[in-house]
């Protein structure tokens, strides 16, 4: 005889509790991922925000004759160690440019040494007690302060942390991405068009599809080995160049663009093709005039996502030498260049604490760019989303 509802309910209590536990457990996994993300972002913000400020101190600069040879002489002994050596280096040049400076004494706000910078930001700094006293006094007198760190966005890399900036890496990234896009976009879209619109279902097509899937699964570092062996050693592309880096990343981005473009092409209903054939268009004309324009938003979305991925990629670029110390922005595709993530990597390896905050700040900049790119992609997708 079947049990009564009450009996069954009573027996079910334990099972319901277990069920509820499972639900919470699975939810906590998601929460854990969320908490991690928050913790990570907070950690980067805390570590990186200080780098957007930079210490400046006000000193008397004495443009005497000795200073033209030995810049240190321009600043009083007490302050010499507190001023950035990067600033001192500029003194002779400025004196040569401007004769009227000679013999004058100017009170100037100058870039401070990274030790001062770190001390003002409350970190530990390698300063002598005497120097600490001097800085404390300067702060009281309003002669030392933190300002917005413009140099971080306008300077290239430097061996002096207070001078190091992202500019040349950013330019390098742009050059690399131009090459990547110039290569991967046409090739990827053409491949997708071939596979979706032209390819017969034969061995070659299947082989091609397998290859594309494999390409997507190959670890990025192996693309670096390819770049090194083929682009640099075989075709003689210059090492560390945006050309070699961009092509390498282009190959990596290719499968992403192919796969997303195919999806976009597939989303165009056949009725549109039929209509075009109906008025006598050839296959290519149909694709060019009807199918491609309709699938362009989808293709662009995929390409932006692919580009974002390429922008964050480091490993293959290390292999082809894009982590060398490159202070100056590259002027062409064949000059040695570095990219944002590689710059982050280089700084991460530096011992000075001023580099740690710069690394984190670089990460914040990189993440902002990536989020902007991805948000653009999402926006494009939403805006042009078609329901056929």
């Amino acid at each position: 005889m079947a049990q009564s509802l009450d009996d069954i309910s009573r027996q079910l209590k334990k099972r319901h509790r277990k069920s509820a536990r499972m639900k919470w457990l699975s939810m906590s996994a998601l929460i854990a991922a969320g908490i991690f993300l928050l913790f990570f972002l907070a950690d980067m913000l805390i570590k990186g925000m200080p780098a957007f400020q930079q210490a400046y101190i006000q000193v008397e600069v004495d443009y005497n004759e000795r200073a033209a040879e030995l810049p240190l002489a321009a600043v009083e002994a007490d302050y010499r160690e507190l001023v950035s050596r990067g600033y001192l280096r500029l003194i002779p040049g400025r004196m040569a440019e401007d004769d009227s400076l000679l013999g004058t004494t100017q009170t100037e706000w100058v870039l401070a040494d990274d030790a001062v910078d770190q001390y003002l930001k409350g970190g530990k700094a390698r300063l002598k007690d005497k120097q600490v006293a001097v800085i404390d006094r300067m702060v009281e007198e309003g002669r030392a302060e933190l300002r917005f760190n413009t140099g971080f966005f306008t300077n290239g890399d430097s061996k002096l942390p207070e001078m190091a900036g992202l500019a040349s890496a950013a330019i390098g990234s742009v050059l690399v991405l131009i090459v990547t896009l110039a290569f991967a976009f046409p090739v990827g879209v053409m491949t997708a068009v071939y596979l979706e619109e032209f390819a017969p279902d034969n061995r070659f097509t299947r082989f091609l599809e397998i290859n594309i899937n494999n390409l997507a699964a190959i670890p990025s570092i192996l693309f670096g080995l390819l770049g090194l062996a083929i682009f640099i050693n075989f075709f003689g592309a210059p090492r560390s160049s945006a050309l070699a880096g961009g092509l390498t990343l282009g190959l990596m981005t290719l499968p992403i663009i192919i796969i997303t473009s195919r999806a976009a092409l597939r989303a165009v209903p056949d009725s549109i093709r039929q209509a075009a054939y109906g008025v006598g268009a050839t296959r290519w004309q149909t694709v060019r005039d009807h199918v491609l324009p309709l699938s362009m938003p989808g293709i662009l979305t995929g390409s932006i996502i692919g580009l974002a991925q390429a922008l964050g990629e480091t490993a293959p670029l290390i292999i082809i030498g894009m982590i060398a110390y490159i202070p100056d922005a590259p002027g062409s595709f064949t000059q040695a260049a570095t990219v944002l993530p590689a710059q982050i990597f280089t700084w991460a390896g530096m011992p000075e604490s001023a580099y740690v905050e710069r690394t984190a700040a670089g990460i914040l900049v990189l993440l902002s760019v990536l989020i902007t790119l991805n948000a653009t992609a999402v926006y494009l997708r939403k805006k042009f989303e078609h329901r056929w």
Partner: protein
Amino acid sequence: MTTKLASPGAPVTFNQETTHDLELTVRDLKLWYGDKQALHGIDLDVYQNNITALIGPSGCGKSTFLRCLNRMNDLIPSVRAEGEIMMEGKNVLSKQVDEVALRKKVGMVFQKPNPFPKSIYENIAYAPRMHDIVSKGSEQDELVERSLRAAGLWDEVKDQLDKPGTSLSGGQQQRLCIARTIAVQPSVILMDEPTSALDPISTATIEELMHELKQDFTIVVVTHNMQQAARVADYTAFFHLGKVIEYNDTATMFSTPEKQQTEDYITGRYG
């Protein structure tokens, strides 16, 4: 027990004197999918150890009604139901009744056979084990055999119990699904067009099976097939646009329907 059905909205009279016990009584059941009302006040009595057939044109709410009886509709987020479905003196729609307990008591067989991707044996043994009805071992083996026999499947599968349930034919799969429902020892079995995906021979087998099952279970079956309702059901309810137009014992219903609409439907004038 004698029952008179009378509800103000859609008066449905049920004339036959009967000695059957009531399994479920439904009163003024209304149901909405979001803003769209699918059931407009259903009144219906379901009798123990009888087969009740629900017929009516497509989209009239038969499946919706059936899913109310074991609260499968709870799985659809936007659904809201009102009214009473009384069983053992409780309204099964109320939150006090545990829908999981209810489903153990009111089992369901679906339109498309849906065996689990497990062995035939496990398809049957899985739920009883969860309910702690049997312990693993010979007791469980016995239950599996009993259920398969009751579903008339034992002789066909006894040598391949470890084969996947999905390897059976459609009709066998449906009987496997019936067997696994029987195995948890419910009182009521709901069947939503159980034979519509099957060939005529499998259909006949299942109809026979239903006759045997009603010794032990109460069956509510949705069917599109008028002949099937006439063949298997003791009672038949005609649904139209979310209402019960007519509910009567099957013989009366098919010979002398009270309502013109019913007559039109069973003579195939629409639907």
